[in-house]
Amino acid sequence: MERTPASATQFPAEQARPKASLVRAFLDFAGSRVIQWMDRAHELIAFSLIATGVTVTKFNIAPRVIRPLVRAQIYRAGVRLLPMIGFLGCALGLIIIGQTVSLLTRVGAHTLIGTLMVTVVIRELGPLLTAVVVLARVGAATVVELGTSRAQGEVEALEALGIDPIHYLVVPRMWGLAVSVFALTIYFVLVALLSGYLFAFLQDVPLPPPEYFRQLASALRWEDFVMLTLKSAAFGIIIAVVCCYQGLAKPLRIEEVPAATTRAVVSSVVACVLLDAVFIVAYLLI
């Protein structure tokens, strides 16, 4: 039998080994990231359940302390963001809606305006854009505040006074952001629809205001009101829980706060988009 030279048999194996190790390294990396992501999701869900449990079980405990904190959060995340939301709603209305109305009228599809506005602005863009604005302005600041509080031992100080830190720090933010995102979404939608029509009106689109509002009213269903309320409030709760989790759940050093803030923003956006997908499925099923 003819013997194969050793070098001839080894050569392909040597070529294959680096490829195999590269694939394995990639799989290891991807696997570790998936496990890390799942761990984080698991902790976040546990934190959400605890926060929800405290919200329910301590609903009527210390209202004289908690209610002013909720009002302060509504003022901070809602009232103070009103000009910003008004500006964004106006800009969106002028840039997108006005042009859409103008274009649809030009191609003779003006009967679809109501359906389009309800689908784009009321169901999707309004809640999501408002949530992103609240996240950027309030959510990120919340992580820094709570991370600093935790680093300075304020959580232990609350516990020493017999005050549940989740009840004092997280619950007011959950209520406050839920109410704020909901209220801001309503304002955003109203401003966007009005400013959009204003733009179309200035472009001499032959669509009288009664016809525009009649189309909007006829395109709206009762589910839209329910879903808008639920979705926007849920976005607020998600932002509050994720940001509080990133700020409070683990002891942070000052240099870790920026990374925690980035994680909070990314996790909140991902969670809001996932929830949005769930609501789309719910719309389709109704």
């Binding site: 210390a62 004289r64 302390v65 300075q152 031992g153 304020e154 232990e156 100080a157 516990e159 020493a160 006074l161 017999g162 005050i163 004092y168 002891p251």
Partner: protein, 264 residues
């Protein structure tokens, strides 16, 4: 050794048997693995120990903020691990804790709001009652002039008094103080020592009731004439030394270090 009559007259308020004290920095490991300690009503304990010996963790555990890794921990005769959350909270609120490093006042609240917080959270007192109690606490801690100031606006020496007033507002029976004299000038030190001695003897703001005091410190010198019971934290062990008279007879090198600190 306490007699049976003494035990009835002065029942134990904090008991720790074979308790392993853990730390917030390393939750799974024991900082002090074997604490055997009984604090009776009206005791005035002074616990000395160098930096990093676990004084703050011992106080946090004694106050019921941290669970020991193992062993028995009782507050007012109740085993904490066996209590429902509500009962556990009720027993914990009978203990006040003044943290070290500036007593950790809440920076977003004013001085008066800091003191009012536990009263407004726990007790069904009217706003007028809360205001009266807060004024009384600010008066005894000489903070009335700073009631509406943020803690950060206070002189550094006055900041720990906010934590003291806050801890006393609910009228606890036991007061734990973590290194309260750190960084204070002699005049402030005198004020704290006199004030704590007044609490131990029965202060009018506490309805004349004597308070049980536990102080943890890194420098025993100011406390040797104040405390009635002494202990050391040495090499992660809790060493009870006895009363004031026993200090002179003790040959523990760490005791000499802590009572002779900065004397050269």
């Amino acid at each position: 050794m306490s007699t049976a009559a003494d035990k009835i007259a002065r029942p134990p308020v904090i008991e720790m048997f074979d308790a392993a004290v853990t730390s917030t920095r390393a939750p799974g490991s024991a900082v002090i693995p074997d604490v055997n300690w009984c604090v009776s009503l009206d005791d005035y304990w002074v616990i000395g120990g160098p930096t990093g010996s676990g004084k703050s963790d011992l106080l946090a555990t004694a106050a019921g903020l941290q669970r020991p890794l193992r062993g028995v921990h009782r507050l007012f005769g109740h085993e904490l691990s066996g209590l429902h959350e509500t009962e556990r909270l009720r027993e914990r609120l009978r203990v006040g804790l003044v943290f070290g490093d500036g007593a950790r006042p809440f920076p977003q609240l004013t001085v008066a709001e800091n003191v009012a917080l536990p009263l407004r959270y726990h007790h069904g007192r009217s706003d007028a009652e809360v205001r009266r109690r807060v004024e009384e606490m600010l008066d005894i801690t000489e903070l009335s002039a700073f009631a509406d100031s943020a803690p950060s606006a206070l002189m550094r020496a006055f900041v720990p008094r906010v934590g003291l007033a806050r801890a006393l507002a609910s009228g606890p029976e036991v007061l734990l103080l973590d290194n309260p004299l750190a960084g204070l000038d002699p005049r402030q030190v005198r004020w704290w020592l006199d004030f704590i001695a007044g609490l131990a003897a029965g202060h009018s703001s506490m309805k004349g009731r004597k308070m049980t005091i536990i102080v943890a410190c890194g420098d025993l010198r100011p406390w040797t004439s104040q405390g009635r019971q002494f202990a050391l934290l040495k090499g992660n062990h809790f060493l009870p030394l006895g009363g004031r008279d026993d200090l002179g007879r003790c040959n523990e090198p760490l005791l000499r270090d802590l009572t002779a600190a900065h004397s050269s």
